[in-house]
Symmetry: C2
Subunit: 406 residues, 2 copies
Amino acid sequence: MATVPTTRWDDLLSTRAQIGWTSPATARRRGASLTESLYEFGGGLPDPASFPHDGMLDATARMLREEGDLAMTYGEAQGYLGLRQLVCRKYEIFENLITEPENILVTNGSGNALSLAFSTFVDIGDAVITEAPTFSGTLNTMRRHGADLHGVPVDAEGIDTGKVREVLEALRSQGRRCKLIYTIVNFQNPSGPTMSLKRRQELVALAAEFDTLILEDDAYGELRFEGHTLPSLYALDTNGRTLRAGTLSKILGAGVRLGWLCAPTEMIPALQGFLFGGGVNPYMSRVATYFLRDHLEEHVELLINVYRDKRDAMVRGLREELDATDAEISNPEGGFFIWIKLPTGTDTKELAKWAAEASVEWRSGSGFMPNGGGQEFARLAYSYESVQKCYDGGLAFAKAIRQSMS
Amino acid sequence: MATVPTTRWDDLLSTRAQIGWTSPATARRRGASLTESLYEFGGGLPDPASFPHDGMLDATARMLREEGDLAMTYGEAQGYLGLRQLVCRKYEIFENLITEPENILVTNGSGNALSLAFSTFVDIGDAVITEAPTFSGTLNTMRRHGADLHGVPVDAEGIDTGKVREVLEALRSQGRRCKLIYTIVNFQNPSGPTMSLKRRQELVALAAEFDTLILEDDAYGELRFEGHTLPSLYALDTNGRTLRAGTLSKILGAGVRLGWLCAPTEMIPALQGFLFGGGVNPYMSRVATYFLRDHLEEHVELLINVYRDKRDAMVRGLREELDATDAEISNPEGGFFIWIKLPTGTDTKELAKWAAEASVEWRSGSGFMPNGGGQEFARLAYSYESVQKCYDGGLAFAKAIRQSMS
């Protein structure tokens, strides 16, 4: 019934469910979904003009002809083998990394993949190291697991490994261990840098030295506009301490909800133990695989050009207004986001007002911080809107910033 | 890399991950997937001949024309509104139950739906009441959550509510509370009975009296071959203490992995808090909805006829051999399963051998018991094989039983 009686049941909630429960509205977190704004720069929404509608229909027809019954029934708990093979091929093509389908566990997008790692390794109160800032969705997942978050700053080379060591040593001196280090290695979301090779090697060595794990999040790696692909932490880690999350959301479409964890084979059963409900979408996995098997490289090539143009347009729009200020504007080598350190004297309440006036959807930096702060930053996604609107909206947001400066 | 180094990481596992970890192979549980057996009576696999391949392709084409971009991007965290409306319509058509889309949370099959309820309400060590026997997949999920399981027997009227009261009183006398009562109300899996109206009313009253919740699992309700549909616990419960799980797995295809929880609206945010990763499959939800919106009733009608014939054939085959024994064979009014109390003197090790010899895939009753026992039972699924094979395989399994009697 829609009418809800007033029975109390919140005293039955689990400890994890009680986290943040005092304000239940927060549980309905604002996801990466469309708003009514003229300039939709909020969530990391993929470019709709690039969605391969005809290709998906064609793939559906071929897939149903070739393996319809298998697509409509229960599949492997670890995920459709064809998709796991495709992920391995993707790693080989783009990174020259050799993996096996046994290393891959298919999930409901990479958010689900990350949650499996937290469920498998994190008890309430366990220490976790994360970048500050980091992706707000993962912050939500870590908090729901009751993780004790230790934020470490990010600079132009990625996570500050010296600070990581300090945190690890501090925990050790308290007789505690860090359960895992969560990091976004390429075009870090939200702040933009790609972790340098030196830092990557240092982080892998730290995980071994302090007997912890690394959770490497790489949703955007193929969407590199310039610069060279560096080896992943998973590839560098000869100790088998790294789990890596990936997704088709950014190279095919987020609506297919297909992601994965890539992990040492012996870890897979532990992770799979939290994937309740019989494996993730055999039907959808097959449609996506049939399309990408034939179109992966050309489709990624197309997307790189699309997103590069959008990034350039937005950066241009922002700079036209902000170069006269001390604002710092990121210029990421790939991905979907620009991170802005607001000019000195920006009144963020005013900014919220003027940006709304200009119908620009954006995100305040505070949502990306594990331990508070961040109000002096803003994140814009250039992924969704057209090139022209990325320029116009970038300019409009920059003007809103100027209007908010005291 | 496929080569796994021997780094130790199992001392980093969470408490829940450690459950059953001494034998990691158990984590790779045998799902409802196909084996090589001649007679596939193991998992609850839907009838492949009924899969609407043409209908799915047609629905895909129409869906992409009408809302392609929306299908390929992030959707609502609660699930695609069209699917939630379809679920409400289904409840109205088959049960005359009025619900609102705000009551529905879309999940990756009903297994995922049930896991959300356990994550939301169950801490490690919390008491949960379940039927004995009950669905093995849910037993796995409850155990992974660390639930302290209290099994209550099932008779021809469903769960024994007298025994439920005894358990609730025993817990109360220990100063403990039952967090929830898990029950499969229609064609109980595996044992077959439909809970009587009287029992349903008693169970709802018990939940209120002892201040606990009910988790009502109903994956098969529409597939009723005979007898009358009774009101669900969710419909009877005016106190808002009942959550209900449903699925498209049995009326469309398990490969689409679409299920849901139906719950009081105020509970939805708490449950949604454990659905990490941006809502379940907007693309797949739309394809399924576009098909079922036009075909729901006729497709269910078709399936009822298919599964009734299969049940009849299997029961006939079993009885031909077993009527001369004291075996008890269920004759469920719907669903996918037959439950057999093996004749006195059946050697279950012998039965495993002879059934394998006859190439019959089946399940021992022991896998369905929350607190041990059950070896004297067997479950067969008649859902997957043809009518003829249900008869032949039923006969073959009955002969294997006869061969195993001392």
